[in-house]
């Protein structure tokens, strides 16, 4: 398990941009202005269905209150498991009697609206990435991402695949990586306890990071997702 490891050459936020992050995005046809998205890839009828607002960073509450909230968040992690690969199988032992994450206040949640931890279990193909982006954006913040398995970190055994993205942190902000192929349930639980530490320390602000660097994330996503047939930001 490594959290934004210095030795792998990843900076503190876990990101090295493939597109230089100059603030001036070259490709701007999906941005109407600073607050509005165009949803240009959708049909006119579909544009009515979806929201066109950009995400905005949410301010944390006043110090001690935020600390209290963070304590509640850390002790009530509701998991949205995205079983993209073999790592998804690791969540099942976690909820059964042997490991029993419910004693830590965690429970699997079937809908992104109610979950607070997004658990990506394995390699991410382009088709999956679309669903990941949609599910991630539908979650209500503060939201955290735990990526399990080596495939989610650097492509793993699919490093030379034509259809697998190698670094999820270029497309959505990732808080904790759990290494292993596949990691044992203990390793996954260690990852969750690391996430807890981060939340308690107030460092797990992936939602705000996503909102601040929205242009950069979107550009990366649009670079690999060629048939973008979904709204630019899913509420």
């Amino acid at each position: 398990m490594s959290y934004m490891d210095k030795t792998t050459g990843i900076p503190e936020q876990g990101i090295t941009p493939p597109i230089p992050d100059t603030g001036e995005m070259p490709d701007r046809e999906w941005r109407k202005d600073d607050k509005t998205l165009t949803n240009a890839e959708l049909t006119l009828e579909e544009q009515d269905w979806f929201c066109d607002a950009r995400p905005t960073p949410a301010k944390p509450a006043w110090g001690p209150v935020e600390k209290f909230y963070n304590w509640a968040r850390a002790n009530s992690l509701w998991i949205l498991a995205f079983g993209t690969g073999c790592g998804a199988i690791e969540l099942r032992p976690l909820v059964t009697a042997r490991y029993d994450i419910s004693r830590l206040g965690m429970q699997p949640r079937p809908t992104p609206r109610q979950a607070s931890v997004f658990m990506i279990g394995g390699y991410v193909s382009i088709k999956t990435l679309k669903r990941i982006v949609r599910s991630y954006e539908q979650m209500q913040g503060p939201k955290f991402v735990v990526a399990v398995c080596s495939c989610a970190i650097n492509g793993g055994m699919y490093w030379d695949s034509y259809n697998t993205v190698k670094r999820i942190d270029q497309y959505i902000p990732v808080d904790v990586y759990v290494t292993g192929c596949m990691p044992r349930p203990e390793a996954v639980m260690a990852g969750f306890s690391k996430l807890k530490e981060l939340i308690l320390a107030g460092k797990a602000e992936g939602q705000n990071l996503y909102a601040e660097k929205f242009d950069w994330y979107k550009a990366n996503q649009k670079q690999v997702i060629k048939d973008w047939n979904m709204p630019d930001y899913n509420w």
Partner: protein, 174 residues
């Protein structure tokens, strides 16, 4: 299985008979006779189950091979019928009227090998690769590692030689 091959050979042009197991055999058929042969196998010899349809890319010989694997539930035997296609113009007749599930295989082959099956329902829709714009991916002249390195950003990797690394770490003053 040899008897079956001989029986079919009376009506159809077959070659390259190959008995792999007592209940598994292959033979190569002519492209023009394939639909008739499959219908004949299904209706007369009771090879009623289409197990799979798959393709092989013979790059050096510049041709595709499509294999139709049929299964007979009565005698529990499999018979694979191979067809060779020209690699430059890979078009094959559709079998979706014989087996409904054939169109799924044909859709997959169209996506993965670029083999066209005119008339097969939904054959042009993407199956796994949504929005794929490159060449058909299972063709052997498509270099997947090269494509991956060019298209996706790879996480930088640190490799250390154990001896020098530990030396540096433990005895930095040396």
């Amino acid at each position: 299985m040899k008897e079956l091959y001989d029986t079919i050979s009376l009506q159809f042009t077959l070659k390259d008979f190959h008995q792999q197991k007592p209940n598994l055999a292959f033979a190569t058929a002519e492209k023009q006779q394939l639909i008739a042969l499959l219908t004949y196998m299904r209706d007369v010899h009771r090879y009623t189950h289409l197990v799979f349809v798959t393709a092989v890319d013979w790059l050096e010989e510049n041709r595709f091979q499509i294999t139709y694997m049929l299964h007979n539930y009565d005698i529990k035997a499999d018979f694979g019928i191979r067809v060779m296609l020209d690699r430059d113009k890979p078009v094959m007749e559709s079998i979706h009227h014989l087996w409904e599930q054939g169109r799924v295989y044909q859709r997959e082959l169209h996506e993965m090998f670029g083999i066209d099956f005119p008339g097969s329902p939904g054959v042009n829709e993407p199956m796994i690769l949504e929005g794929w714009q490159g060449p058909p991916v299972m063709r052997r002249d498509f270099d997947t590692a090269k494509y991956s390195l060019e298209t996706y950003d790879h996480r930088p990797r640190d490799t250390r030689e154990p001896e020098s690394h530990m030396k540096e770490k433990l005895y930095p003053e040396d």
